[in-house]
C-alpha cells in the first residue's frame, strides 16, 4: 500500500467525491487560488475549476450560513474552516440552523453539509486558535462529529461524511497533516460511528481519539517495553454517532479504563464516556475510570509549557502506571 500524508488523504477524498457528485462544492477562505491555508485543497482549483472550488471572504457566519442554505436545496457543500476555532463567529449558523432545521421543520428539511478544518492545540498559537470544540458540537442532537487520527481513517471517514445526509463536522489536526500512513489506492469508505481498536491489550483500555491516539500508542509501546503492561487502545474516530459497544467490549476484557483526550476537562467528551461506561459496565470495572485531558486553562502560548498542558506520552504513561498501582 502506498504511504501518503494525512493531508493528501483528505485531499484525495475531496477529489474523489468532487469527481463522483456534481453537487459537491468546496468553499472556504483561501481554499482555491492560495491552495489552502494548510494546503489541504492544493491543486483542486486547477483540476475542478472555480465553480467547484470557491474562495470566500473572511466571513464565517456568512459563508457557512450560505453553505447551509445551499445544502437545504440539495447541494453538498464541504466548507473549510481555516481553524475550527473560528466556529464561534458562525455558531448561530452551525448550531441553530444546521443542527435544528430538520427538527423544527418536522423532518421536511435536511442539511447534507460537511464543515471541516483543523481543531487542535500544540502549535503555539495561543488560546484563540487552539479550540477543540468536539464536545460542544456533539452536544447538539442533529449533528455528527468525526475526529480522525490517521491518513487511512481521514480519507475513508471524509468520503462517508460527504455522502451523509446530515450535517457532519470533521475535525482535523494541523500537527497530523504531515503524518504519513498507508492508504489503499482502491476506493473505500469507513462508516461514521465505528471505533477502531488500534492496539490490542489486556491490562488497561485507553479510550481516545484524534492526535491523542498517537500519544496513546506511543505510551502503550513504552508501557509494554519498560513495564510489561499490555494496553489496548480504542480509537473512537467518531464522537457522534458513538461506538460505545467497542469500548464496552474492551472494558470487559481489561477492566480498567483510561480516557485520553485533547479536551478541557469540564463536560468533555470523556465526561460523557465515563458516565456511559460506569452506567453500562459498572460490574466490569476494577478501578475508577481515570482521565488525561488538557490542563484546565486557556491554551498557553509558551511552547515548552503547552506540551505539558496537552496530553502527551509521558502524562499518559504516568496516569496508566498510577492506575495499575
Amino acid at each position: 500500500m502506498p504511504e501518503i500524508t494525512y493531508r493528501e488523504a483528505i485531499r484525495h477524498a475531496l477529489a474523489e467525491e468532487l469527481e463522483r457528485d456534481a453537487n459537491v462544492v468546496i468553499m472556504g477562505e483561501e481554499v482555491a487560488q492560495f491552495n489552502g491555508a494548510y494546503k489541504v485543497t492544493e491543486g483542486l482549483l486547477a483540476k475542478f475549476g472555480p465553480k467547484r472550488i470557491v474562495d470566500t471572504p473572511i466571513t464565517e457566519a456568512g459563508f457557512i450560513g450560505t453553505g447551509i442554505g445551499a445544502s437545504m436545496l440539495g447541494l453538498r457543500p464541504v466548507m473549510e474552516l481555516m481553524f475550527w476555532s473560528f466556529y464561534s463567529v458562525a455558531f448561530d449558523q452551525i448550531l441553530n440552523n444546521a443542527a435544528n432545521v430538520r427538527y423544527m421543520s418536522g423532518g421536511l428539511i435536511n442539511c447534507p453539509i460537511v464543515i471541516r478544518g483543523p481543531a487542535n492545540g500544540g502549535t503555539n498559537v495561543g488560546a484563540t486558535h487552539s479550540h477543540t470544540p468536539e464536545n460542544v458540537l456533539a452536544n447538539h442532537p442533529g449533528v455528527k462529529v468525526v475526529v480522525p487520527a490517521t491518513a487511512y481513517d481521514a480519507k475513508g471517514l471524509l468520503k462517508s461524511a460527504i455522502r451523509d445526509n446530515d450535517p457532519v463536522f470533521f475535525l482535523e489536526n494541523t500537527i497530523l497533516y504531515g503524518e504519513k500512513g498507508e492508504v489503499p489506492t482502491a476506493e473505500y469508505l469507513i462508516p461514521l460511528g465505528l471505533a477502531d481498536v488500534k492496539r490490542q491489550g489486556r491490562d488497561l483500555t485507553i479510550v481516545t481519539y484524534g492526535r491523542s491516539v498517537i500519544h496513546s500508542l506511543a505510551a502503550a509501546e513504552v508501557l509494554h517495553k519498560e513495564h510489561g503492561v499490555l494496553v489496548e487502545v480504542v480509537d473512537l474516530r467518531s464522537i457522534r454517532p458513538l461506538d460505545i459497544d467497542t469500548v464496552l467490549k474492551s472494558v470487559a476484557k481489561t477492566h480498567r479504563v483510561l480516557i485520553v483526550e485533547e479536551q478541557k476537562p469540564f463536560a468533555s467528551v470523556g465526561s460523557q464516556l465515563a458516565y456511559m461506561i460506569q452506567r453500562e459496565a459498572f460490574d466490569e470495572l476494577d478501578a475508577p475510570i481515570h482521565r488525561v485531558a488538557t490542563v484546565d486553562a486557556p491554551a498557553i502560548y509558551s511552547p515548552p509549557v503547552e506540551v505539558e498542558q496537552l496530553p502527551n506520552p509521558q502524562r499518559v504513561i504516568k496516569a496508566a502506571l498510577e492506575m495499575l498501582g
Binding site: 450560513g65 437545504m72 448561530d92
Partner: protein, 364 residues
Amino acid sequence: MSNQPSANTPAGTAAKTASDPHLAPVNLKLTKEERIALFRTMMQIRRFEERSLRAYQAKKIGGFLHLYIGQESVAVGCCSLMGKHDHVITAYRDHGHAIAVGMGMNELMAELYGKATGCSKGKGGSMHFFAPDRNFWGGHGIVGGQIPLGTGLAYALKYKGLKGAVMAFMGDGAVNQGAVHEAYNLAALWSLPVIFVIENNGYSMGTSQERSSAGDLPTRAAGYDMAWDQCDGSNVYVVRAMMDKYLTRAREESKPAVVEIDTYRYRGHSVADPDNTYRLKAEVEEYRRTKDPIQVVQNMLMTDGVLTPADIEKIDQAARKEADDAAKFAEASPYPTVEDLQQDVYWEADHPDQRQSQGRLFFD
C-alpha cells in the same frame, strides 16, 4: 417611519416605483380572479391571526405569538409573484408568508397548538413554519439568522443554473445584525439572485427605527454596490410593482437587491407585549384609518367594480370560518408523543433502512 430615498441602482439610473401601481405591467395583466385572490389571501391572514390571538388568550397556544396584522400586503404582494424556482425565507413573524405561499390554515393552527398534525408536527411552533414543497424555507427565530440561509438558497439556484430568485425577509431591527451584512456582501460579490426584503414596521420590539438604526436602511446596499429600493407597503399593487422589477432582474441577470417595504404592525411585538411603552395608540389608529392594507385594496376593488360589499362580506365570512375550522381541527388533533421527540432529528435515524453510519446517535 423612514424618510423616502429615491430609487437607485449602482448604475445610477433613477427609477421611481410606478406612482400609479395599476399601470405596472405586472398588475395590468392580473385577471379579475387574481385580483380577488390577492384580497382573499390578505383577509385569510388577518382572520387567521385574529383567531390565533383568541386561541392564545384561551391558553391553547404556548410560547411566543408574533402577529402579522397590518402587514398582510407585504407577504401577499411578494409571494404572489413567485414562480416555480422562486423561494422564500423569513423570520419568526412568519404566519403571513406561510399563508401567502399557500399553506393551509389547518396545519398552521395545529402547529400553534403544538399538535402532531401541525406543519412541523408540533416541533417548531409559531416561529418555525416550513413548507419546502412550496419553496418556503421558514420561519426562523434568531433575528437575522435566516439571511445567510436565504443567500445560500440563491447560491444553489445559481449553481444549478435554475432561473429563480430568493426573497429573504427580515425586520427593520434585523438589519443591524452582522450576519445580514455578511450575506449582503456575499450576495453582491457572487452576484446571487436574492432580494433582501426589509419589512419596516417601524419597530423592533419596543425600539423605534430611529432608536436602533443610523441612517436609512436600504441605502446600506450601496456600500456593497447593490441596487436598492423602497416603497409604501400598504398597497399590495405597489409592493408587486416594485418586487416584480427586482425579481425579474434577479431571475434574468442573477443580481441581488435590498428593498425596504414600509408597513406597520397593529399589535404588540408579540402577544406578551402590552404595547403601552413605546408608541401612542393614536399612531396605530391613524395608520389603521388611512393605510390599512386590506381596506386599501378593498376600496380599489370596489371602485373598479370588481367586488361588491356583499362579495367582500362573503370572502370575509369564509376566511373567518376557515380560521374557526382550523382551530377546531387543531383542538381535535393529537399531541405528538414522547416517542416522537427523537424523530426528525437525524435524516439517517428517520431512514433506518438507508442508514450507513453505525453507533449511537442518541444518548440518555
